[in-house]
Symmetry: C2
Subunit: 192 residues, 2 copies
DNA sequence: CCCATGTGAGACATTCTTGTCTCATTATGG
DNA sequence: CCATAATGAGACAAGAATGTCTCACATGGG
Protein backbone atom coordinates (compact mmCIF):
# COMPACT_ATOMS: atom_id res chain seq x y z
CA UNK A 1 0.00 0.00 0.00
CA UNK A 2 2.81 2.36 0.83
CA UNK A 3 5.14 3.05 -2.06
CA UNK A 4 7.31 5.36 -0.01
CA UNK A 5 10.04 4.72 2.45
CA UNK A 6 7.70 4.65 5.41
CA UNK A 7 5.54 1.85 6.71
CA UNK A 8 1.82 1.93 6.16
CA UNK A 9 0.37 2.13 9.66
CA UNK A 10 3.33 3.60 11.45
CA UNK A 11 1.36 6.71 12.33
CA UNK A 12 -1.03 4.75 14.50
CA UNK A 13 1.72 2.78 16.22
CA UNK A 14 3.75 5.92 16.61
CA UNK A 15 1.08 7.54 18.71
CA UNK A 16 0.77 4.45 20.88
CA UNK A 17 4.53 4.35 21.37
CA UNK A 18 4.53 8.02 22.25
CA UNK A 19 1.84 7.56 24.88
CA UNK A 20 3.63 4.59 26.41
CA UNK A 21 6.89 6.51 26.51
CA UNK A 22 5.16 9.46 28.14
CA UNK A 23 3.63 7.25 30.80
CA UNK A 24 6.93 5.54 31.53
CA UNK A 25 9.15 8.61 31.48
CA UNK A 26 6.71 10.40 33.76
CA UNK A 27 7.46 7.79 36.38
CA UNK A 28 11.13 7.19 35.56
CA UNK A 29 12.67 10.05 33.61
CA UNK A 30 15.98 8.20 33.18
CA UNK A 31 14.45 5.17 31.47
CA UNK A 32 16.55 3.58 28.75
CA UNK A 33 15.53 3.33 25.13
CA UNK A 34 15.31 -0.38 25.77
CA UNK A 35 12.90 0.16 28.65
CA UNK A 36 10.85 2.57 26.58
CA UNK A 37 10.63 -0.04 23.83
CA UNK A 38 9.63 -2.77 26.25
CA UNK A 39 7.00 -0.51 27.82
CA UNK A 40 5.51 0.02 24.37
CA UNK A 41 5.64 -3.69 23.64
CA UNK A 42 8.03 -3.35 20.73
CA UNK A 43 11.72 -3.99 20.17
CA UNK A 44 14.43 -1.41 20.33
CA UNK A 45 14.96 -1.73 16.60
CA UNK A 46 11.37 -0.81 15.87
CA UNK A 47 11.54 2.03 18.35
CA UNK A 48 14.48 3.39 16.38
CA UNK A 49 12.45 3.09 13.19
CA UNK A 50 9.90 5.44 14.74
CA UNK A 51 12.30 7.88 16.38
CA UNK A 52 15.83 8.40 15.18
CA UNK A 53 17.15 8.48 18.73
CA UNK A 54 16.47 9.45 22.27
CA UNK A 55 16.71 13.11 21.43
CA UNK A 56 14.13 12.74 18.68
CA UNK A 57 11.85 10.88 21.10
CA UNK A 58 12.09 13.60 23.70
CA UNK A 59 11.43 16.22 21.04
CA UNK A 60 8.38 14.29 19.89
CA UNK A 61 7.16 14.12 23.49
CA UNK A 62 7.71 17.85 23.76
CA UNK A 63 5.60 18.40 20.65
CA UNK A 64 2.93 16.11 22.08
CA UNK A 65 2.93 17.98 25.37
CA UNK A 66 2.62 21.30 23.61
CA UNK A 67 -0.18 20.01 21.44
CA UNK A 68 -2.07 18.64 24.45
CA UNK A 69 -1.66 21.91 26.29
CA UNK A 70 -2.91 23.89 23.34
CA UNK A 71 -5.85 21.53 22.98
CA UNK A 72 -6.60 21.92 26.68
CA UNK A 73 -6.37 25.66 26.27
CA UNK A 74 -8.78 25.53 23.36
CA UNK A 75 -11.27 23.45 25.31
CA UNK A 76 -11.00 25.78 28.27
CA UNK A 77 -12.15 28.76 26.18
CA UNK A 78 -9.88 31.23 28.04
CA UNK A 79 -11.56 34.30 26.58
CA UNK A 80 -15.01 33.32 27.75
CA UNK A 81 -16.63 34.31 31.01
CA UNK A 82 -14.71 35.35 34.08
CA UNK A 83 -10.96 34.81 34.10
CA UNK A 84 -11.35 32.96 37.38
CA UNK A 85 -13.61 30.34 35.88
CA UNK A 86 -11.41 30.18 32.80
CA UNK A 87 -8.43 29.28 34.98
CA UNK A 88 -10.49 26.61 36.70
CA UNK A 89 -11.48 25.17 33.33
CA UNK A 90 -7.90 25.31 32.13
CA UNK A 91 -6.58 23.41 35.13
CA UNK A 92 -9.28 20.79 34.74
CA UNK A 93 -8.55 20.31 31.06
CA UNK A 94 -4.81 20.21 31.58
CA UNK A 95 -4.87 17.47 34.18
CA UNK A 96 -4.58 14.55 31.71
CA UNK A 97 -1.38 16.08 30.38
CA UNK A 98 0.01 16.98 33.80
CA UNK A 99 2.28 13.95 34.05
CA UNK A 100 3.81 14.61 30.66
CA UNK A 101 4.17 18.27 31.53
CA UNK A 102 5.98 17.37 34.73
CA UNK A 103 8.42 15.20 32.80
CA UNK A 104 9.10 17.89 30.23
CA UNK A 105 9.39 20.50 32.96
CA UNK A 106 12.31 18.60 34.44
CA UNK A 107 13.97 17.72 31.14
CA UNK A 108 16.81 20.21 31.13
CA UNK A 109 17.75 19.13 27.63
CA UNK A 110 14.85 21.17 26.31
CA UNK A 111 15.76 24.40 28.06
CA UNK A 112 19.54 24.52 28.04
CA UNK A 113 19.90 24.59 24.28
CA UNK A 114 19.58 27.90 22.55
CA UNK A 115 16.93 26.56 20.19
CA UNK A 116 13.69 25.82 21.99
CA UNK A 117 10.33 24.95 20.58
CA UNK A 118 8.22 27.98 19.68
CA UNK A 119 5.20 26.20 21.07
CA UNK A 120 6.14 27.08 24.61
CA UNK A 121 6.21 30.74 23.79
CA UNK A 122 2.81 30.47 22.13
CA UNK A 123 1.45 28.77 25.22
CA UNK A 124 3.05 31.31 27.52
CA UNK A 125 1.48 34.10 25.52
CA UNK A 126 -1.99 32.62 25.60
CA UNK A 127 -1.91 31.77 29.29
CA UNK A 128 -0.26 35.07 30.12
CA UNK A 129 -3.03 36.83 28.21
CA UNK A 130 -5.60 35.06 30.33
CA UNK A 131 -4.01 36.31 33.52
CA UNK A 132 -3.63 39.77 32.05
CA UNK A 133 -7.30 39.84 31.18
CA UNK A 134 -8.12 38.86 34.74
CA UNK A 135 -6.02 41.76 35.97
CA UNK A 136 -7.63 44.26 33.62
CA UNK A 137 -11.09 43.08 34.61
CA UNK A 138 -10.19 43.63 38.24
CA UNK A 139 -10.47 39.96 39.14
CA UNK A 140 -6.75 39.32 39.68
CA UNK A 141 -4.28 41.32 41.71
CA UNK A 142 -1.78 43.35 39.76
CA UNK A 143 1.27 42.94 42.00
CA UNK A 144 1.93 39.47 40.58
CA UNK A 145 3.04 39.59 36.95
CA UNK A 146 1.27 37.46 34.33
CA UNK A 147 4.63 35.86 33.54
CA UNK A 148 5.00 34.70 37.11
CA UNK A 149 1.40 33.53 37.32
CA UNK A 150 1.97 31.48 34.17
CA UNK A 151 5.12 30.01 35.61
CA UNK A 152 3.30 29.24 38.84
CA UNK A 153 0.58 27.43 36.92
CA UNK A 154 3.19 25.17 35.33
CA UNK A 155 4.99 24.66 38.62
CA UNK A 156 1.90 23.81 40.60
CA UNK A 157 0.71 21.50 37.85
CA UNK A 158 4.00 19.60 37.86
CA UNK A 159 4.14 19.53 41.66
CA UNK A 160 0.64 18.17 41.93
CA UNK A 161 1.31 15.60 39.23
CA UNK A 162 4.28 14.27 41.19
CA UNK A 163 2.38 14.40 44.46
CA UNK A 164 -0.39 12.44 42.78
CA UNK A 165 2.04 9.79 41.53
CA UNK A 166 3.39 9.42 45.06
CA UNK A 167 -0.10 9.20 46.50
CA UNK A 168 0.28 12.34 48.57
CA UNK A 169 -2.61 13.93 46.71
CA UNK A 170 -5.66 12.12 45.33
CA UNK A 171 -6.02 12.35 41.57
CA UNK A 172 -9.63 13.48 41.87
CA UNK A 173 -8.51 16.46 43.96
CA UNK A 174 -6.03 17.65 41.36
CA UNK A 175 -8.20 20.37 39.77
CA UNK A 176 -9.27 21.78 43.12
CA UNK A 177 -5.83 21.74 44.68
CA UNK A 178 -4.09 23.43 41.79
CA UNK A 179 -6.77 25.89 40.78
CA UNK A 180 -7.87 26.94 44.26
CA UNK A 181 -4.32 27.44 45.49
CA UNK A 182 -3.35 29.35 42.38
CA UNK A 183 -6.46 31.51 42.54
CA UNK A 184 -7.17 31.95 46.21
CA UNK A 185 -3.97 30.99 47.99
CA UNK A 186 -3.75 29.54 51.44
CA UNK A 187 -5.41 32.42 53.22
CA UNK A 188 -8.98 32.08 54.31
CA UNK A 189 -11.29 34.50 52.56
CA UNK A 190 -13.19 36.98 54.64
CA UNK A 191 -16.83 36.01 54.72
CA UNK A 192 -18.46 39.13 53.43
CA UNK B 1 49.21 18.28 61.47
CA UNK B 2 46.96 15.50 60.34
CA UNK B 3 48.16 12.04 61.26
CA UNK B 4 45.15 10.33 59.80
CA UNK B 5 44.22 9.42 56.31
CA UNK B 6 42.49 12.71 55.64
CA UNK B 7 43.97 16.04 54.63
CA UNK B 8 44.23 18.84 57.11
CA UNK B 9 41.94 21.52 55.72
CA UNK B 10 39.73 19.38 53.57
CA UNK B 11 36.67 20.41 55.56
CA UNK B 12 37.04 24.00 54.44
CA UNK B 13 37.71 23.09 50.84
CA UNK B 14 34.92 20.59 50.91
CA UNK B 15 32.37 23.25 51.69
CA UNK B 16 33.68 25.46 48.92
CA UNK B 17 33.52 22.58 46.46
CA UNK B 18 30.00 21.81 47.58
CA UNK B 19 28.87 25.39 47.05
CA UNK B 20 30.45 25.53 43.61
CA UNK B 21 28.86 22.25 42.64
CA UNK B 22 25.49 23.48 43.85
CA UNK B 23 25.79 26.66 41.83
CA UNK B 24 26.82 24.79 38.70
CA UNK B 25 24.32 21.94 38.95
CA UNK B 26 21.55 24.45 39.57
CA UNK B 27 22.21 25.82 36.11
CA UNK B 28 23.20 22.58 34.40
CA UNK B 29 21.95 19.53 36.21
CA UNK B 30 23.73 17.16 33.82
CA UNK B 31 27.18 18.62 34.42
CA UNK B 32 30.05 16.15 34.38
CA UNK B 33 32.31 15.46 37.34
CA UNK B 34 35.00 17.12 35.26
CA UNK B 35 32.89 20.24 34.86
CA UNK B 36 32.08 20.26 38.55
CA UNK B 37 35.78 20.04 39.33
CA UNK B 38 36.65 22.84 36.93
CA UNK B 39 33.89 25.01 38.37
CA UNK B 40 35.39 24.53 41.81
CA UNK B 41 38.86 25.29 40.51
CA UNK B 42 40.25 21.86 41.35
CA UNK B 43 41.15 18.76 39.40
CA UNK B 44 38.95 15.76 38.97
CA UNK B 45 41.33 13.72 41.11
CA UNK B 46 40.96 16.08 44.03
CA UNK B 47 37.20 16.14 43.57
CA UNK B 48 37.24 12.37 43.94
CA UNK B 49 39.26 12.72 47.11
CA UNK B 50 36.44 14.80 48.55
CA UNK B 51 33.51 12.75 47.26
CA UNK B 52 33.78 9.10 46.38
CA UNK B 53 31.71 9.56 43.24
CA UNK B 54 28.90 11.41 41.63
CA UNK B 55 26.36 9.68 43.81
CA UNK B 56 28.19 10.72 46.95
CA UNK B 57 28.35 14.29 45.66
CA UNK B 58 24.63 14.40 45.03
CA UNK B 59 23.96 12.91 48.45
CA UNK B 60 26.18 15.54 50.03
CA UNK B 61 24.29 18.24 48.15
CA UNK B 62 21.07 16.73 49.41
CA UNK B 63 22.35 16.88 52.97
CA UNK B 64 23.42 20.49 52.40
CA UNK B 65 20.04 21.40 51.01
CA UNK B 66 18.26 19.80 53.94
CA UNK B 67 20.56 21.55 56.39
CA UNK B 68 20.01 24.92 54.73
CA UNK B 69 16.26 24.41 54.75
CA UNK B 70 16.28 23.46 58.40
CA UNK B 71 18.42 26.48 59.20
CA UNK B 72 16.03 28.68 57.25
CA UNK B 73 13.15 27.14 59.14
CA UNK B 74 14.89 27.84 62.42
CA UNK B 75 15.54 31.45 61.50
CA UNK B 76 11.95 31.88 60.38
CA UNK B 77 10.63 30.92 63.84
CA UNK B 78 7.57 29.15 62.46
CA UNK B 79 5.81 28.93 65.81
CA UNK B 80 5.99 32.64 66.47
CA UNK B 81 3.35 35.18 65.57
CA UNK B 82 0.77 34.67 62.88
CA UNK B 83 1.20 31.73 60.54
CA UNK B 84 0.91 34.14 57.63
CA UNK B 85 3.93 36.13 58.71
CA UNK B 86 5.77 32.94 59.55
CA UNK B 87 5.29 31.74 55.96
CA UNK B 88 6.56 35.08 54.68
CA UNK B 89 9.63 34.80 56.89
CA UNK B 90 10.20 31.21 55.78
CA UNK B 91 10.09 32.10 52.10
CA UNK B 92 12.48 34.97 52.65
CA UNK B 93 14.94 32.81 54.56
CA UNK B 94 14.72 29.97 52.08
CA UNK B 95 15.55 32.08 49.03
CA UNK B 96 19.34 31.60 49.21
CA UNK B 97 18.82 27.86 49.06
CA UNK B 98 16.15 28.00 46.37
CA UNK B 99 18.51 27.17 43.51
CA UNK B 100 19.88 24.15 45.30
CA UNK B 101 16.35 23.11 46.20
CA UNK B 102 15.30 23.35 42.57
CA UNK B 103 18.18 21.11 41.54
CA UNK B 104 17.39 18.52 44.20
CA UNK B 105 13.71 18.71 43.36
CA UNK B 106 14.45 17.56 39.84
CA UNK B 107 17.03 14.94 40.78
CA UNK B 108 15.00 11.79 40.36
CA UNK B 109 17.85 9.75 41.74
CA UNK B 110 16.90 10.92 45.22
CA UNK B 111 13.25 9.94 45.03
CA UNK B 112 13.15 6.77 42.98
CA UNK B 113 15.21 4.71 45.39
CA UNK B 114 13.45 3.14 48.34
CA UNK B 115 15.88 4.69 50.79
CA UNK B 116 15.47 8.43 51.01
CA UNK B 117 16.97 10.86 53.46
CA UNK B 118 14.95 11.26 56.65
CA UNK B 119 15.64 14.97 56.53
CA UNK B 120 12.93 15.55 53.98
CA UNK B 121 10.33 13.97 56.22
CA UNK B 122 11.50 16.11 59.13
CA UNK B 123 11.18 19.19 56.95
CA UNK B 124 7.78 18.13 55.65
CA UNK B 125 6.59 17.65 59.20
CA UNK B 126 7.76 21.03 60.40
CA UNK B 127 6.41 22.93 57.40
CA UNK B 128 3.20 20.92 57.44
CA UNK B 129 2.81 21.78 61.12
CA UNK B 130 3.09 25.46 60.27
CA UNK B 131 0.28 25.22 57.75
CA UNK B 132 -1.78 23.15 60.15
CA UNK B 133 -1.33 25.79 62.83
CA UNK B 134 -2.53 28.40 60.39
CA UNK B 135 -5.60 26.33 59.72
CA UNK B 136 -6.37 25.82 63.39
CA UNK B 137 -5.93 29.51 64.08
CA UNK B 138 -8.43 30.27 61.34
CA UNK B 139 -5.89 32.05 59.17
CA UNK B 140 -5.67 29.40 56.44
CA UNK B 141 -8.45 27.67 54.59
CA UNK B 142 -9.04 24.07 55.49
CA UNK B 143 -9.95 22.69 52.05
CA UNK B 144 -6.27 22.56 51.05
CA UNK B 145 -4.36 19.92 52.98
CA UNK B 146 -1.13 20.84 54.78
CA UNK B 147 0.64 18.19 52.72
CA UNK B 148 -0.38 19.89 49.51
CA UNK B 149 0.47 23.33 50.83
CA UNK B 150 3.91 22.05 51.74
CA UNK B 151 4.34 20.55 48.30
CA UNK B 152 3.17 23.79 46.73
CA UNK B 153 5.75 25.73 48.74
CA UNK B 154 8.51 23.52 47.34
CA UNK B 155 7.11 23.70 43.83
CA UNK B 156 6.69 27.46 43.79
CA UNK B 157 10.15 27.88 45.28
CA UNK B 158 11.70 25.76 42.55
CA UNK B 159 9.66 27.41 39.82
CA UNK B 160 10.63 30.88 40.96
CA UNK B 161 14.27 29.86 41.27
CA UNK B 162 14.27 28.72 37.65
CA UNK B 163 12.34 31.78 36.51
CA UNK B 164 14.91 33.90 38.30
CA UNK B 165 17.80 32.15 36.57
CA UNK B 166 16.14 32.76 33.22
CA UNK B 167 15.54 36.40 34.07
CA UNK B 168 11.78 36.07 33.90
CA UNK B 169 11.50 37.10 37.52
CA UNK B 170 13.76 39.56 39.33
CA UNK B 171 15.68 38.05 42.24
CA UNK B 172 14.56 40.84 44.55
CA UNK B 173 10.94 39.95 43.88
CA UNK B 174 11.39 36.32 44.84
CA UNK B 175 10.02 36.53 48.40
CA UNK B 176 6.99 38.54 47.33
CA UNK B 177 6.15 36.41 44.32
CA UNK B 178 6.36 33.10 46.13
CA UNK B 179 4.87 34.09 49.46
CA UNK B 180 2.06 36.28 48.16
CA UNK B 181 0.97 33.76 45.57
CA UNK B 182 1.11 30.93 48.07
CA UNK B 183 -0.77 32.89 50.67
CA UNK B 184 -3.18 35.05 48.75
CA UNK B 185 -3.36 33.52 45.29
CA UNK B 186 -4.07 35.38 42.12
CA UNK B 187 -7.45 36.70 43.15
CA UNK B 188 -7.76 40.29 44.22
CA UNK B 189 -8.79 40.66 47.84
CA UNK B 190 -12.03 42.40 48.63
CA UNK B 191 -11.24 45.76 50.16
CA UNK B 192 -13.05 45.51 53.44
C1' DC C 1 2.05 -20.00 -3.30
C1' DC C 2 5.25 -16.13 -3.51
C1' DC C 3 6.93 -11.84 -2.48
C1' DA C 4 7.27 -7.58 -0.08
C1' DT C 5 7.04 -5.40 4.17
C1' DG C 6 7.39 -4.98 9.04
C1' DT C 7 9.33 -6.85 13.01
C1' DG C 8 12.30 -9.02 16.80
C1' DA C 9 16.60 -10.54 18.32
C1' DG C 10 21.05 -9.91 18.65
C1' DA C 11 25.85 -8.60 17.44
C1' DC C 12 28.89 -4.81 17.01
C1' DA C 13 31.44 -0.48 17.26
C1' DT C 14 31.21 4.05 19.26
C1' DT C 15 30.86 7.39 22.61
C1' DC C 16 30.60 9.23 27.09
C1' DT C 17 31.19 9.08 31.90
C1' DT C 18 33.00 7.23 35.58
C1' DG C 19 36.32 5.17 38.87
C1' DT C 20 41.12 4.07 39.71
C1' DC C 21 45.76 4.42 39.21
C1' DT C 22 50.52 6.48 38.77
C1' DC C 23 53.75 10.11 38.78
C1' DA C 24 55.65 14.65 38.84
C1' DT C 25 55.09 19.07 41.03
C1' DT C 26 54.08 22.17 44.68
C1' DA C 27 53.66 24.00 49.39
C1' DT C 28 53.76 23.44 54.01
C1' DG C 29 55.40 22.71 58.49
C1' DG C 30 59.13 21.38 61.47
C1' DC D 1 66.58 22.60 54.14
C1' DC D 2 63.98 18.43 54.29
C1' DA D 3 60.11 15.40 54.61
C1' DT D 4 55.48 14.82 54.28
C1' DA D 5 51.21 15.80 52.39
C1' DA D 6 48.21 17.54 48.91
C1' DT D 7 47.43 18.50 44.33
C1' DG D 8 47.19 18.39 39.11
C1' DA D 9 47.68 16.04 34.95
C1' DG D 10 47.03 12.25 32.53
C1' DA D 11 46.67 7.27 31.37
C1' DC D 12 43.79 3.35 31.72
C1' DA D 13 40.02 0.03 32.13
C1' DA D 14 35.10 -0.77 33.05
C1' DG D 15 30.48 0.12 32.33
C1' DA D 16 26.39 1.87 30.30
C1' DA D 17 23.69 3.70 26.64
C1' DT D 18 23.37 4.65 22.11
C1' DG D 19 23.34 4.12 17.03
C1' DT D 20 23.84 0.86 13.28
C1' DC D 21 23.80 -3.30 11.13
C1' DT D 22 22.44 -8.07 9.69
C1' DC D 23 19.50 -11.91 9.59
C1' DA D 24 15.60 -14.84 10.46
C1' DC D 25 10.65 -14.93 11.02
C1' DA D 26 5.86 -13.91 10.24
C1' DT D 27 2.24 -11.74 8.16
C1' DG D 28 -0.67 -10.18 4.61
C1' DG D 29 -1.90 -9.17 -0.21
C1' DG D 30 -1.78 -10.39 -5.00
Amino acid sequence: MSHMGYPCFMALDRDHVLRSAAALLTRKSTATMDEVAKAAGISRATLHRHFAGRDALVRALEALGIAECEAALDRARPEQGSATDAVRRLVREIQPAAGLLAFLYGESQLWEGDRQNDGWQRLDSRIGALFQRGQQDGEFRIDLTPVWLTEALYGLTASCAWATLDGRVAARDFPTMVAELLLGGALRREES
